[in-house]
Subunit: 426 residues, 2 copies
């Protein structure tokens, strides 16, 4: 980047070891994550700082037979320029023509890969009204493409690249270069890339996750019951819910891992059958604001009472997005001993943080977590309990102090997790 590179890359980030790990991440993203088909196009989004990883992903995609890789870069500086210099009446604008083009690309067979890693605090200083208007405008035009993803019609995958601004948010007390190195090392470690054969290790990990999902699917539980400090929550499960985990077969027949890393076993709650109160166990980073100390009460699936010790106004706006934004679209079980939890790092990025603890998500449900969806429209799925919203925001409620029971239709309880760990052998 002519004229603006102001620091010399040295140490770990200039080492062969780093280059080899980055290549492993690219290979796992393409082979394990996306599992791109020969002849398939790939639509890739990434922050500008992820150029080196984009290049590794692109090479592995072409080696695997991809016909064309098209990358869309986001640049924090130009994103900020909009808020700094844009005119008041322009924030409801979104690139509908591009969103439609991408959705067409998916319908015509393209796979979707996202590299995440933008600065989580980027928009923290901007006018909340501008941020939420722009975000809503983008959500509306992106909805058709997002539905293809949430319906799991195509193979897709998200991986992360460390960026200087994100690293500084995660490690505010380290010098910038060291923070960046630490974040990269953490990503490599929790993405299970440090062993002798990461692709094989991922196959083993996927098998363990599948056994847990199969156990839960065979049992056909009616609800989960979470108890812990500040938490006594019953989450009813949708009629014909399906537990998913790790690698899954997309609608186009491709078995892919949508998230690298992933530690969760997850399904669809019933939008009308969530009761009780729950406390967050980790902060939630949303559009640059940390929301912390969340405590909410549900009645008949709906949040009826909410408070947060930090970021309460942002949370209130989120809940107010649409009809479905104050109901649940996902519930997920993650052991407290997961590599991400053990790292002790708050990544401030859902891809990682949701794999550190059991969690629930406000908003849109995943159709792939429902059985027998063939020919069912949104209304039929809603009648079975699947929630609809423009948002999908994960929010951590598990910890080493939280227990989870499964509840059958007749009301009997089976322990699933004690002190955050699985107690069923699956």
């Amino acid at each position: 980047m002519t004229g603006e590179s102001t620091h010399h890359t040295t140490g770990y980030l200039a080492s062969d070891e780093f280059a080899a790990m980055l290549d492993r991440l690219g290979e796992v993203a393409v082979r394990t994550g996306l599992n791109v088909l020969p002849g398939q196009q790939v639509i890739l989004t990434a922050p500008l700082h992820a150029v080196p990883l984009v290049r590794r992903v692109t090479e592995h995609a072409y080696r695997a037979g991809a016909s064309l890789v098209t990358t869309f870069y986001s640049d924090d500086q130009t994103t900020l320029a909009r808020y700094q210099y844009g005119a008041e009446d322009t924030f409801d604008t979104a690139a509908g023509w591009l969103a439609k083009g991408m959705a067409d690309g998916f319908r015509e067979g393209a796979a979707r890969m996202a590299i995440t890693g933008g600065n989580p605090a980027l928009l923290a200083g901007q006018k909340p009204d501008h941020v939420s208007r722009a975000s809503k405008a983008a959500s509306i035009v992106n909805r058709p493409a997002m539905e293809i993803i949430t319906n799991f019609d195509i193979n897709w995958c998200i991986v992360a690249a460390a960026t200087p601004e994100w690293a500084q948010q995660v490690f505010p007390h380290l010098p910038p270069q060291q923070a960046l190195e630490e974040l990269w090392r953490a990503i490599f470690a929790v993405s299970r890339l440090t062993g002798p054969d990461p692709v094989a290790e991922w196959a083993t990990h996927n098998a363990i996750l599948h056994r847990r999902a199969t156990f839960l699917n065979d049992a056909r539980y009616a609800a989960l019951h979470f108890t812990g400090p500040g938490t006594d929550l019953t989450v009813g499960l949708a009629d014909g819910h399906d537990w998913a985990a790790g690698a899954e077969k997309a609608g186009n027949g491709v078995v892919c891992n949508p998230n690298i890393p992933t530690e969760e076993v997850f399904t669809t709650p019933h939008r009308l059958k969530v009761e009780g109160h729950v406390s967050s166990t980790k902060p939630l980073s949303h559009q640059g604001t940390l929301i912390d100390g969340i405590h909410v009460r549900f009645e008949a699936g709906r949040i009826v009472d909410m408070q947060a010790t930090k970021g309460q106004d942002v949370l209130a706006r989120v809940l107010d997005t649409d009809e479905g934004s104050c109901r649940l679209g996902e519930v997920a079980l993650v052991p407290h001993s997961s590599p991400i939890s053990r790292s002790g790092i708050l990544f401030q990025n859902t891809l990682f943080d949701e794999n550190a603890a059991s969690h629930i998500a406000l908003g849109q449900a995943y159709t792939k977590c429902m059985r027998d969806t063939e020919g069912q429209d949104e209304a039929s799925l809603a009648a079975r309990g699947a929630n609809t919203s423009m948002i999908h925001i994960d929010w951590m409620i598990g910890s080493g102090q939280v227990d989870v029971d499964a509840v059958t239709a007749d009301g009997s309880h089976t322990p699933l997790m004690r002190q955050g760990e699985w107690v069923v052998e699956a």
Copy 2:
């Protein structure tokens, strides 16, 4: 760009002077070049190395009232990866979904800005069959968007950013850093940015170009006659041709400068009325190959005989693209004293090189260089002489040794240029 920046930027490229010139280029690109409307979206394409200029352009666009700037970056390394690792049967693939999206964006009102500056020799070592198949596939899907540009339906602008690989091609004997500096300085100078008020200087320059175009339009000449070493060429002009130059009003009503820099006064030749032979006066850089020493003979508008001392096979493939690729779509007059000619630099980039000498272009004609086009379809315009093709390749035939006469319908000659300079006072 984490992990891959291997050189420290120092000297001119780290100076305030360079930053100020880059900002001027961004301002002229937005204000003089694109003249973006308040509320208008901007679709921007750029090579990755142009990030600093993209940021200047984006800021000026938002300051001018743009509602949203969307940038698509190209990366030479990932482009190369396709040719290095792509499977044999994948090179006819193009991102049709994206091309369609961009065309929709233009139809919905977006303006188009392109930053050029990729490595002109990037694909020189790749299999010509793969390069031409990929290029043809891209041309086909990009055609609707290209027609919007060639029809001048919307305001658009091309500017250039120096990149290390391009600079090395232009200045092969300089060290990389110095080559890059020299190319940037050349771009700033020939883009008329070094005076006290570039936007005002561009207004004056545009006025001079307009006077010349008005003179030629008032005269309604039937043909141009080029004579010089190896050249005796009569270029008949299309019926109802229109001379254009500098800032022009696009179909959406916006007065813009499609090229920064521009020195040419240009119009549409008659596709059936070009006779004689012509020699190139500068090399032509096409997809990484330098084509030089071109000599061709026209009969009834068609190239019937062709030779080149360098790159003849590439030129042959270009001429073989489609029905219209061996006929002319543009003729342009440029004084030998233009700043680009005086710089003595072969930029190997059409944006600059076409403004160093009078030239002709193989392929597609510009509808904006035809009068009374309202309601006329392609067949009507073709009957008036406008050529159609997937390509538009400019090719320099002027020099300090070339004279140009205007020829009226009754065969009388008027001197326009002698030894490459204008001899009419307009």
